[in-house]
């Protein structure tokens, strides 16, 4: 049996909106992935949880506008922990100009408002390099 994709979903910093993160988490779960839902966390905790849980992907969510400060920190900390193979994706309210900035900082995929769940599932599956089931 193929190993299930393990993904940590966390909300960056103190952002108050959970709707997107939970809806995406449920969709990924129903697509056969294993979800660790961390809720609001700072980058240190996110990386600690990711290592403890041995995840393939970290999905970060924020609608507060803190993404340029906090999302790159997660990537940096992963590298520092020699866990650069864990891929980081981001979803939330993000100005179009910020997308290239996030990608440059090592976030492999960015999903803005209105993103399709099917596309997110496909993309996560591809990033993890396997099939969802």
């Amino acid at each position: 049996m193929e190993k299930k994709i393990r993904i940590l979903i966390a909300r960056l910093g103190m952002d108050a909106h959970w709707r997107g993160s939970i809806v995406v988490a449920k969709a990924l779960r129903d697509a056969g992935m294993e979800i660790i839902y961390g809720g609001n966390q700072n980058p240190d905790n996110i990386v600690r949880m990711a290592l403890q849980e041995d995840v393939d992907i970290i999905g970060l969510s924020s609608l507060s506008g803190n993404h340029l400060e906090l999302a790159p920190k997660v990537v940096k900390l992963l590298k520092k922990e020699k866990a650069g193979d864990i891929k980081v994706i981001f979803g939330g309210t993000v100005a179009p100009d910020d997308i290239p900035k996030l990608k440059k900082a090592g976030i492999v995929e960015v999903f803005g408002p209105g993103s399709s769940l099917k596309k997110i599932i496909e993309s996560v599956t591809k990033i993890a390099g396997g099939s969802a089931n």
Binding site: L12, G13, M14, W18, S64, L70, T93, A95, L117
Partner: protein, 561 residues
């Protein structure tokens, strides 16, 4: 004795004729291949007739505005007497900057202030807390101490303008509202002159914006009730709570859930106030509500009308109040942020205008219209102004204010209002069966219900069953953003500097003594607001107060997923 609106013979004749019409005329045409139902899943028929209202007793079920069951409006004259309050939400960056925005909006004709606070303030953290750094000034204005509150309302006539404090969580409200009151007292304005509202809803902390390490539901509920108790004694024109159905809806729940949750919450607060020895009619007229205006036009209007009737009936049954004002469901509406799209953002002007019209046809007391850029950023001056003008156009140009409850009596709307009422009653019963809203929140049930509904909604958008212009239909490939986005002014440095100075200048012994008193007040289960209005004067900060409370109450890790 119940008197129905139509006599049985007439209804029978209509039924016969309508059946014939359906078979011979309607069914010769094709309907579009879609499910006809409201956003929250109420079935919608092709046509409504007196048959649907055959059991309606006008005097019992509709009556007149300003009297029971208030379905036609809480005021007899409604907008013929006074327009709804044009209360535009604003808050970002340091208080110095938000103060300018408030003054701008008031100058442009806003008739109330609606102040929103940044994420650290909402969660009870100071700006210099390391976990807060990335969110300081985001989503609202940053408030750390009473000095920030002085700056925020500097030069604004708070004895005349009604001010809504969108404090969301009680942990935030207890400090921030105390700072607002302390600022007023400092300016020589007695508390009984202050008109306004604070949000102060424990479900915000425990079901809607939940995060690890929040206050336990019972503690959060207690703080919320402290503010209600305090205001009923000392600030009689202040609405000490605004049950935040809007936020439950933004998080994903349906229209009937939105209303049922706020009413269940109001019942719980009322029971607690009575337990504390207050007369029901001494606080109930000041319980206020906050609802969303989402995409489904008639469903939203039905929701507001049903809310008024359910509330008046339920309150009468449960508490037997003497004062009719205790049974009035008064509410503020914000147009649905969740309905806005980042794609083709100027389309949001049209969306928000429809939402606002539903709010007004539904009899709202006050309205905020969302700005067109809110799916992308905090509103610019131009987008806030356009939102305010949307309200002014609605009020002055469309004629919807000329008569009270203009859609009352519509076969469709009254039917939908009845269906909505039935569903609200069903959910209220389920919550009652769980032992009330606090228990339901503790079990994680409210959060679960909201997130399940959010998930269902998203798949409906995904399948195209729920069309969203610009998102799943009428898209523009490689769209170039047609608007300028707002960037939040520098905040963290300013707030940190003020905190450094504050901590240096204040008297440490006094601060320590005060924070100790806060913890002891929690231990003794006494009213915290009475203490805090004095306490904030010695410049204890919001974050310090929160820590002093959490030392006693502990924290709660809610079921998150």
């Amino acid at each position: 004795m119940a008197k129905s609106l139509f006599n049985d013979d007439a209804v029978d004749m209509i039924r016969t004729k309508r059946e014939a019409w359906r078979k011979e005329i309607y069914e010769c045409r094709r309907e579009m291949p879609k499910k006809f139902e409201t956003l929250s899943g109420f079935a919608v028929k092709p046509l409504y007739t007196p048959e649907d209202l055959s059991s309606m007793d006008y005097l019992r079920d509709l009556g007149f505005p300003g009297v029971e069951p208030f379905i036609r409006g809480v005021q007899p004259t409604m907008y013929r007497g006074r327009t709804w309050t044009h209360r535009q939400l604003a808050g970002f960056g340091p208080p110095e900057e938000t103060n300018k925005r408030y003054k701008f909006l008031l100058k442009q004709g806003a008739t109330g202030i609606n102040g929103v606070f940044d994420y650290p303030t909402l969660r009870g953290y100071d700006s210099d807390d390391p976990d807060a750094a990335a969110d300081v000034g985001r989503g609202g204005v940053s408030i750390d101490s009473v000095k920030d509150m002085n700056i925020l309302f500097d030069g604004i006539p708070i004895e005349e303008v009604s001010v809504s404090l969108v404090t969301c969580q009680p942990i935030c409200n207890i400090s921030v509202q105390s700072m607002y009151f302390a600022n007023a007292l400092d300016r020589g304005i007695p508390l009984d002159r202050l008109a306004g509202t604070s949000q102060n809803d424990f479900l915000m902390e425990t079901a809607v914006t939940i995060a690890p390490g929040v206050l336990p539901p019972a503690a959060s509920f207690k703080l919320s009730c402290d503010a209600i108790e305090f205001c009923s004694k000392f600030a009689p024109r202040w609405n000490p709570i605004s049950f935040a159905g809007y936020n439950y809806r933004e998080a994903g729940c349906t229209a009937p859930q939105e209303v049922a949750f706020v009413i269940a919450n109001a019942i719980a607060c009322s029971q607690e106030m009575i337990r504390r020895g207050l007369e029901f009619d001494s606080f109930a007229p000041r319980l206020s509500f906050f609802l969303s205006a989402h995409n489904d036009f008639f469903e939203e209007i039905a929701k507001y009308r049903a809310a008024r009737r359910v509330y008046s009936k339920t309150i009468q049954k449960q508490f037997g109040s003497k004062d009719p004002r205790s049974r009035m469901f008064r509410f503020h509406v914000q147009t649905a942020g969740v309905a806005l799209t980042a794609q083709q953002p100027l389309n949001n002007i049209a969306r928000a205008a429809y939402h606002a019209m539903a709010a007004v046809l539904g009899g709202a007391q006050s309205v905020h219209v969302d700005a067109y850029d809110e799916a992308l950023c905090v509103p610019t001056e131009l987008s806030s102004l356009t939102a305010l003008r949307t309200q002014q156009i609605l009020q002055s140009e469309t004629g919807v204010t000329s008569t009270v409850d203009p859609l009352g009596g519509s076969y469709f709307l009254e039917s939908l209002t009845n269906a909505m009422e039935e569903e609200i009653d069903r959910i209220l019963e389920a919550i009652d069966g769980m032992g009330g809203i606090v228990k339901a929140a503790e079990k994680g049930w409210i959060h679960e219900e909201i997130s399940a509904a959010a998930y269902k909604y998203q798949w409906a958008v995904e399948s195209g069953e729920m069309p969203i212009v610009g998102v799943n239909c009428h898209q523009i490939e490689d769209e170039k953003l047609p608007i300028e986005l707002f960037s939040i002014p520098e905040t963290l440095g300013i707030q940190r500097k003020k905190l450094r100075q504050l901590r240096k200048q204040r008297k440490d012994a006094e601060v320590e003594k005060t924070l100790d008193a806060v913890s002891r007040c929690c231990e003794r289960n006494e009213n915290l607001m009475e203490l805090l209005i004095g306490a904030v004067k010695v410049f204890v900060t919001e974050g310090e107060i929160s820590k002093a409370m959490k030392r006693v109450y502990g924290v709660w890790d809610p079921p998150l997923f």
